[in-house]
Symmetry: C2
Subunit: 273 residues, 2 copies
């Protein structure tokens, strides 16, 4: 899978790209089923909201076969290699559950702000690619993105340890308003299987999910291998230290697993316990 010149241009100008329905129903069913298994695990990688429901499962690719394959899926990894112009490694991998009724806010932030301050990643030569496991609509906590904000550099931020269970470097209100007045705010929506890519300096947030439906998104944060992190203060399963270039698997890697007789992903998860 290759991005077109027009797509490369949009990413360069706007800082984000949306690709509707890149993964099919069979692949998504597998990933949803495995995400449910993972969210029930009592592991330190599975963070919970104040209510107890799963908020973020980190590093599932290290203990679940379906997510191991997703983390090297050519439809995710190859476009990022193209945009970052070279081999990439997995800096962070997470399943953000945003549970029905209980899914909490993510305040306005830039991901690179955290990667730089906490992990000493030299440059914003890293980015996110997100896969929707549920349909995302206006009602279940879509991601809000400020187009063009990736041109603003790495902005001043404060370390928010209170709003939610997850520490985050968040931006001040004047900055968010100034950038949003200039670039607007988009809330990309689409069916399960859709893919959203955004620059590591793009300003984004997401509101609570007050709907009765979940809104799960899987994020791969991929970084050029030359740009690997220098500081190892966060847990290895939050900010990875394996800088081996990812070799993309075949396009059928998830379908093959879904079609295997045994529920292989579930078995692999248990084996890893």
């Amino acid at each position: 899978m290759k991005l077109s010149p027009a797509q490369l241009e949009q990413f360069e100008t706007e800082g984000w790209l949306f690709l509707p329905e890149c993964f099919d129903a069979e692949e998504i069913a597998l990933l949803r089923r495995e995400a449910e298994v993972i969210n029930r695990l009592d592991r330190e990688e599975v963070w919970r909201e104040k209510s107890g429901v799963a908020r973020t499962a980190f590093a599932a690719h290290t203990y679940n076969e379906a997510y191991r394959r997703l983390a090297a899926h050519p439809r995710l990894v190859e476009p990022v290699m193209q945009l970052l112009d070279g081999p990439v490694y997995m800096h962070q991998n997470k399943i953000n559950a945003k549970a029905a009724f209980d899914g909490e806010v993510w305040q306005w932030h830039q991901d690179y702000g955290t990667w730089q301050r906490d992990d000493d990643m030299p440059e914003p030569r890293a980015m996110n690619i997100a896969l929707f496991l549920d349909e995302v609509t206006a009602v279940n906590g879509p991601l809000f993105i400020v187009p063009k904000s990736h041109k603003a550099g790495t902005l001043e931020a404060g370390h928010d340890l209170e709003t939610t269970s997850y520490p985050l470097w968040t931006l001040d209100r004047e900055t968010v308003k100034r950038l949003a007045d200039a670039g607007g705010i988009v809330a990309p929506q689409g069916k399960a299987g859709s893919v959203l890519m955004f620059h590591s300096n793009i300003v984004h947030a997401s509101p609570p999910n007050i709907s009765p439906w979940p809104r799960t998104i899987v994020y791969l944060s991929l970084c050029h291998v030359d740009n690997h992190i220098r500081r190892f203060q966060r847990a290895e399963w939050i900010a990875h230290r394996d800088f081996t270039p990812i070799e993309p698997l075949g396009d059928d890697c998830l379908r093959d697993l879904a079609r295997a007789d045994a529920p292989a992903g579930a078995a692999a998860t248990q084996a890893a316990e």
Copy 2:
């Protein structure tokens, strides 16, 4: 202004109607300016979020000339007289500010649930008509409506005194999920000046506004005069006791005020202090 047979049918079936851009820029500018004046008033009718910003200004039609005229505006009152089949009075009148960054959630509820339990309104022969003073988009806390839920009758509810500064009879999660799975959820969006009408038994909510832009909506809750409330336990400015039928004013009533030389609305507000 009259609703068409198709619109009457949609309201009957779905429980809501959206009318884009019913009021023009001149009328909206007047109402926004006056809302800002009102939200700065130190009056018991102006309720605030925990942060101190205005959440709801009640009964502005009793102390502001622009809102007095809006409360008898034919583009709002006449369609409701048509739907409720007779003369109406003002049961409740509010400006819901939903401030930028700070505007809080309204949990899932039916308005008639409160009007019945708190005010002893005999039947759901009353409804809301809402006017957008700001553009409403996916990012600034749009109203979420469960179509067809007005057919479910008046549902069991618990009295939520904790989530926000405003007490509300809210629905349990199983009920919301059951109705939303059946009817879906819509989040009507449109420019300032648009009008949203919904049945007093429609299940609705709205998420916090985490965007840097305000989202102010004016609500008239109109009730058939025969169906007036019987219990007077809430403040008169929350649940009105003047059951006089509203006489719709002329279609130019707000434009005339906007064009008057003096800032008449502001003057009237001061005079009422």
